[in-house]
């Protein structure tokens, strides 16, 4: 049992199965692929299927924000004011998201959270 525990601890720390999950304000300190979580700010520009959808992501509880460009399918719940996360890399101040990496967070699958109600 202890051996099993050790194996998976090692696996998580060494293998590429894990991704840092960051807020926009923490992004500057990391290079490489990360998962970025934040609130979608208006305006939404462009098209996710042609040329890329552009928007800003802000810290969920904060003010730091970063521009994002995303291509791929857009989840049903995506909207301004919603908490989302994308995977990608910061390139010259622009967060370039991987294709189809956009996920909307539904804090509880069963209830609209207080934030989404306000929007």
């Amino acid at each position: 049992m202890a051996a099993a525990l050790a194996v998976f601890l090692l696996y998580t720390s060494l293998a590429g199965g894990s991704t840092p999950s960051l807020r926009p304000s923490q992004l500057a300190a990391h290079s490489g692929t990360v998962s970025l979580a934040g609130v979608v700010l208006s305006p939404l520009r462009g098209d996710a299927h042609e040329g890329g959808l552009r928007f800003r992501l802000r810290d969920i509880n904060g003010t730091g924000s970063v521009p994002v460009v995303y291509t791929g399918s857009v989840p049903d719940l995506f909207a301004v004011g919603r908490d989302v996360s994308v995977r990608g890399k910061l390139q010259d101040g622009l967060f370039v998201a991987e294709r189809d990496s956009l996920v909307t967070k539904c804090p509880s699958k069963y209830a609209p959270d207080s934030k989404s109600k306000q929007t």
Partner: protein
């Protein structure tokens, strides 16, 4: 009306606290009359909770928006069936459902074992009361479903993705499973507190455990079916924290169901079993907490949830109390027997337990890892599907193998030669299957090939067990083959029900490998214009154009396709999106065409409707996915066989545990 609901909850809270405190005092002092009174209070609380539930149900059905809960979870246009399902669509209603099921199941379990809970396990009622007190407290003081405000003109509505028949059944079944695990836990802890550490608590709660476990398993698969059809990304399980929340207690409960057999038969693993039952219960609480609080998405959402901290506190109390009780009673739990051989049925059960618990722990670690890393390193690190897939395979394949080998190993000490002889046929079948699949090109997914080889091994072993048993019975009596078969299963329901469940797991495995290892996906980067054709596998999809339709509560946009396979027309499919008015949300409405003969699904997702009439499309071919749903039915069938009351077994147990008043 809201006042009636509030009053009913306050009365229920009072009764439950009375049952816990008075019952505890009575159990401590051995006051039987007082314990009867506490038991009656527990029964009565069920009535009070039922009244509260009826009030909420009535408000939901009547669209009484003066109830904040109703205004937040329904709307005027919402169809009645979904207005009813909004009962468990939100936090407060879910808590009420928890309490309703808990008082209901608790009362039933106590009522059916009245003498036992009075004379032998007096701590059962106070422990059930203690657990129920927490939920009643939450409902009265923290998250009341009966908060009122001036009624808005219309409600917010129900999350559109929950407006699905599967979501009407999935949550209540899940709660039956979660809450049902309270019963074996309460009896186990009562056995410890009452110094009755024999296996009576296991025997009495066996069907409760089995039923809760079956509910939980079936609910997980219903949730998967919902995700497959409604969330519509083309898969069926995504290692989402909410999915894992139900999987973890199910895994531990599975381990428990196996290890109790060792205790019943050999009087071993007594400490291990109380640890497992406490673990399963704690994980079911943790599961409720995860689904309700959303803490896992971000440590920050923790503060937003009104019940998160309370729940976490309660889980901590439950774990601490269980550990303390187990430690205090450790001397009573020492097993008189030891493991005699590493090749024996007991040992096989032990390996099965280690793998199941290790799997549950790795899932748990994956779920809490973002929180741990955020606390330690300042930012969250999430583990994704590769992590979970790796361990599901690493621990899952040995478990599958054990499903085939375990039932063939003798108790106490098995001879390797005899074991080898009985494994001859299954091994042969497995090797032939593997070779055939390799020749057919299944080598494209090595894990899939190994999985199928193992699956055929287990299926062969199960069929062999049935055949052997039937033949043995037939040689004894003069019933025909069918009569012998029925007699075999009927007289050993637990064993052969278990085999049927094993078969269900293998069927599930075959389906999961099919969709996971041998599926096809196509997602063209260019939009598809009306009249254009897209090809995937042997299928041709010709896009005919889009239509819009207004339903009661949504605008339905549909793209229509002419589908053909190998040039043969198969008819028209329509996939698209619904835009819900009151909820101001859009939901994906995928098209699924199941081909039962070929055992594959054609799965069509419309990514986006463009203004010029073209669409973005994603199409998948999912082989064997329907076996996953079939496995759910076989699973329920096997569980029912194993659960079905057996008069002979009852008599045998009655002789074994002739109740002696304490």
């Amino acid at each position: 009306m809201a006042d009636l609901g509030r009053a009913a909850l306050v009365v229920a809270f009072g009764l439950i606290v009375y049952a816990a405190l008075t019952g505890g005092y009575a159990a401590f002092r051995g006051r039987r009359r007082l314990l009867e009174s506490a038991t009656n209070a527990l029964f009565a609380s069920l009535g009070a909770v039922a009244v509260a539930a009826l009030v909420l149900l009535a408000a939901l059905v009547r669209d009484d928006f003066s109830f904040v809960y109703v205004a937040d979870h329904t709307s005027r246009e919402l169809p009645l069936r979904y207005a009813v399902s909004a009962f468990w669509g939100g936090q407060e209603g879910s808590l009420l459902l928890w309490l309703l099921v808990l008082t209901g199941m608790g009362s039933a379990a106590v009522a059916l074992n009245r003498k036992l809970t009075r004379d032998v396990l007096p701590w059962t009622v106070p422990i059930l009361g203690g657990i129920a007190s927490f939920f009643a407290f939450m409902l009265v003081f923290v998250a009341s479903p009966f908060a009122t405000a001036s009624a808005p003109a219309d409600g917010v509505g129900l999350n559109p993705s929950l407006q699905n028949p599967y979501m009407m059944a999935h949550p209540p079944l899940l709660y039956l499973g979660y809450v049902g695990l309270t019963i074996p836990f309460a009896f186990a802890m009562a056995a410890l507190a009452s110094r009755r550490t024999d296996e009576r608590w296991i025997v009495v709660t066996r069907r409760w455990t089995l039923a809760s476990w079956a509910f939980l398993g079936f609910a997980i698969l219903l949730g998967a079916k919902w995700a497959y059809e409604e969330v519509g990304w083309g898969g069926w399980y995504a290692w989402d924290p909410v999915e894992n929340a139900a999987l973890m207690p199910w895994l531990v409960a599975t381990a428990f169901l196996h290890s109790v057999m060792v205790q019943e038969k050999k009087n071993m693993l007594r400490v291990w079993n109380v640890i497992l039952v406490a673990g399963a219960f704690a994980l079911s609480l943790f599961g409720t907490f995860l689904t309700r609080s959303g803490v896992i998405n971000s440590i920050h959402s923790f503060t937003q949830s009104s019940i998160g901290a309370w729940f976490l506190g309660f889980i901590a109390v439950v774990i601490a109390a269980s550990i303390t009780l187990i430690l205090v009673r450790l001397p009573l739990l020492r097993s008189p027997t030891r493991l005699e051989s590493l090749v024996s049925r007991e040992a096989a059960f032990l390996y099965n337990n280690l793998f199941l618990v290790a799997l549950a722990l790795t899932v748990l670690w994956g779920v809490v890892y973002p929180l741990v890393s955020e606390a330690v390193r300042g930012f969250a690190v999430t583990v994704g599907a590769p992590y979970f897939d790796f361990f599901a395979i690493a621990f899952g394949l040995p478990l599958v193998l054990l499903m085939g080998v375990g039932p063939l190993v003798a108790w106490r000490r098995a001879s390797l030669r005899a074991l080898g002889t009985s494994l001859l046929w299954p091994t042969g079948v497995a090797l032939v299957t593997g070779a055939v699949f390799l020749a057919a090109g299944a080598g494209s997914s090595p894990a899939g090939l190994v999985g199928y080889t193992f699956a055929s091994f287990v299926l062969a072993a199960i069929v062999l067990e049935f055949a052997r048993g039937t033949r043995a019975r037939r040689s004894l009596g003069d019933d025909g083959w069918l009569g012998s078969f029925a007699g075999l299963v009927g007289r050993n329901r637990r064993r052969y029900g278990g085999y049927v469940v094993h078969a269900a797991i293998v069927i599930l495995l075959i389906g999961a490998i099919g969709i996971g290892g041998f599926g096809t996906t196509r997602e063209p980067r260019r939009a598809l214009a009306p009249g254009a054709t897209m090809r995937i596998g042997a299928y041709d999809l010709t896009y005919l154009g889009s239509v819009q339709r207004r339903s009661a509560n949504a605008l339905e946009m549909r793209a229509r396709f002419d589908v053909a396979r190998d040039g043969k027309p198969l008819g028209v499919l329509s996939a698209g999106k619904n835009r819900y008015f009151a909820e101001q949300q859009t939901s994906n409405e995928v098209a699924i065409r199941s081909d039962w003969l070929r055992g594959e699904d054609l799965f069509v997702i419309v990514g986006k409707f463009n203004n010029d009439g073209s669409i973005f499309l994603k199409v998948l071919i999912n082989p064997l996915v329907n076996l996953i749903w079939l496995a759910g039915l076989v699973f329920v069938g096997g569980s029912l066989i194993a659960m079905w009351p057996d008069a002979r077994e009852q008599r045998r147990l009655a002789r074994r545990f002739a109740y002696a008043p304490a």
